[in-house]
Symmetry: C2
Subunit: 343 residues, 2 copies
């Protein structure tokens, strides 16, 4: 049958206390005793009952995630990839995930509930919006949290992990300008999300510095699916003055954009240049496109893993240090970018 602490202690002729301490690395246990305990554990295959542990410690052993159910985000591949990283790391530390689907209007309440319920040791927030009210709320709660992304035009006095979206698209745009491009389109994520805002900002900055202006008719915002990518590109190409280059916020959108370009009989890297942000989705590699894509790269999965790590290490630490990380992206040049065609 199953061994529990009590039986294990009996077998060893020790008290539960000592066994428990031996297992949890307390210093006041004799080294020999500890070895004996560890051997017994190995022999019996004893595994502590998590529920009992959680109950006794008051630590839920899980990190909470409020998942928006609106707008098909749940089936968003980017979110899934991020979760994979978060999950992988949580599993490694034997943490659970408590995912709470919630309609956007109930989100704050859901967070509050989660935090109060004690079912959760840490919270995590993604899909940051402009001036996101949820952040103030998280700060008021007494639960550690980490934000993926960060607000814009607002003090960022909270723990976050973000990538340098502005920088990424600034660099990308600059490269295109250096190659002689003057009309550059942007296929972006939803306009209320801060990463989209920053990418646009980065692009505008580069344009400004070179005396160019951002053309609203060459800009698209939506969920990042290949269908929207296709339609956006199709629209751009129908423009009286079509772009000679395009920036995509996701490889998924690029998939659609490439299709539209090819269908129009144009050649990528020659007639039109394309740079996409690459979240390093395992199944959609920009280097495998017919014309390998130039990208700004940053692994979404790695971000998830890192956040899980920080969340877990913060638990119980009560440290006041506000850790903030801003990851740089890499600009990787492949065949999809080339000099602007001369008219």
């Amino acid at each position: 049958m199953n061994v529990n602490l009590k039986k294990l202690a009996e077998m060893l002729g020790l008290s539960q206390t000592t066994v428990s301490r031996a297992l949890n690395g307390f210093p006041e246990v004799n080294a020999d005793t500890r070895q004996r305990v560890l051997r017994a554990v190995r022999e019996t295959g004893y595994r502590p009952n998590r529920a009992a542990q959680r109950l006794a410690t008051g630590r839920a052993g899980s990190i909470g995630l409020v998942m928006p159910i609106a707008q098909g985000i749940d089936s968003d591949i980017h979110f899934g990839e991020f979760l994979a990283g978060l999950g992988e790391e949580s599993v490694r530390h034997d943490f659970h995930f408590v995912i709470n689907p919630s309609a956007p209007e109930d989100e704050e309440l859901t967070f509050k509930r989660l935090a109060a319920s004690g079912n959760v040791d840490a919270l995590f927030l993604a899909y940051v919006r402009e001036n996101d009210p949820r952040i103030a709320m998280l700060k008021s709660l007494s639960v550690p949290f980490v934000v993926h992304g960060r607000t814009v035009d607002q003090p960022t006095d909270y723990p976050f992990l973000d990538i340098d979206n502005t920088g990424a698209f600034y660099e990308a745009t600059r490269l295109l300008i250096q190659l002689g491009h003057r009309r550059i389109a942007l296929i972006n994520g939803q306009s209320h999300l801060t990463f989209a805002i920053r990418r646009r900002k980065g692009m505008i900055r580069a344009l400004d510095e070179n005396g160019l202006t951002f053309d609203e008719s060459l800009s698209h915002n939506s969920l990042m699916t290949d269908e929207y990518g296709y339609r956006a590109m199709e629209r751009f190409l129908a423009n009286p003055e079509p772009p000679t280059a395009v920036l995509c916020s996701s490889t998924v959108m690029a998939l659609g954009a490439v299709r539209a370009i090819t269908r129009a009989g144009l050649t990528i890297g020659k007639d039109i240049s394309l740079i996409t942000h690459d979240d390093v989705l395992p199944m959609l590699k920009p280097e495998n496109f017919m014309v390998p894509l130039t990208t700004t790269r940053s692994s979404l999965r790695a971000a998830g893993a890192r956040i899980a790590n920080r969340l877990i290490s913060r638990i119980g630490m009560a440290s006041d240090a506000v850790e903030q990380e801003l990851w740089r992206t890499e600009l990787i040049v492949r065949a999809s970018t080339g000099p602007a065609p001369s008219r």
Copy 2:
């Protein structure tokens, strides 16, 4: 601060027993009392402590999953998609997931441990191999389980959910033959996995019925990534007698195959026909390919959800009924299939 059962009971002037029963739908509670309790719950925002519940009931409230860490399966998009379904459904029922990464050689031990630890109420098995020893082991354990897929050439006296892989590829092949194709290639998953075995079998059956034979030189087995799809197709096209049609086991592989075909200057649906199995990956829709793909379709995510459901409902039921489900796939004809080119 946080309300717990005790406080709630005090507030209501009831015993913990009664409150607990009222909440868990026991019949011996007065309807009025129950209403009072429910109102108090709403007002105080009381949420039961899961850990305590689990400890008291002995139900872990979680389903276990032994995840192979070998061969990059963890980053396999198909697995992720399946998990998404499983996860969605688990969350709905407030169940946890306990994912245990494990090297293949330790898998059986890991299962045993998981089952014995009591940290898990149900187990689930995927990536069934030919004559999979893990199934016998699961049967010997006293934990409910459901298998995704099923063994081949072996009694299937255990609960499973599978799709009709044989039928899917039989129908697909038959369609190609009716269109006049004689040389048909197969880009398949790893050869030890039963779904791959069955698909091949289905294809062979259709060929046999029409006096054709399966050509090993037009067959490929590997992990299902777009890179392998590309390479396999490239190899087939270099064949002295190249195929006029190809079957793919995944849209992801089809992505690579399409690239190889296009690069070779051939037109899909005309020079070469292609049918792929479609797991309904949210970001890779066969209808969005440049030439929309003919597919055999069955949602992987739906399968995950269904399995979670069955697992959860089996828990505590101790029913002996061995539920088995075999889902038919749909053959959806699009533009990637056409009559065989005349030589």
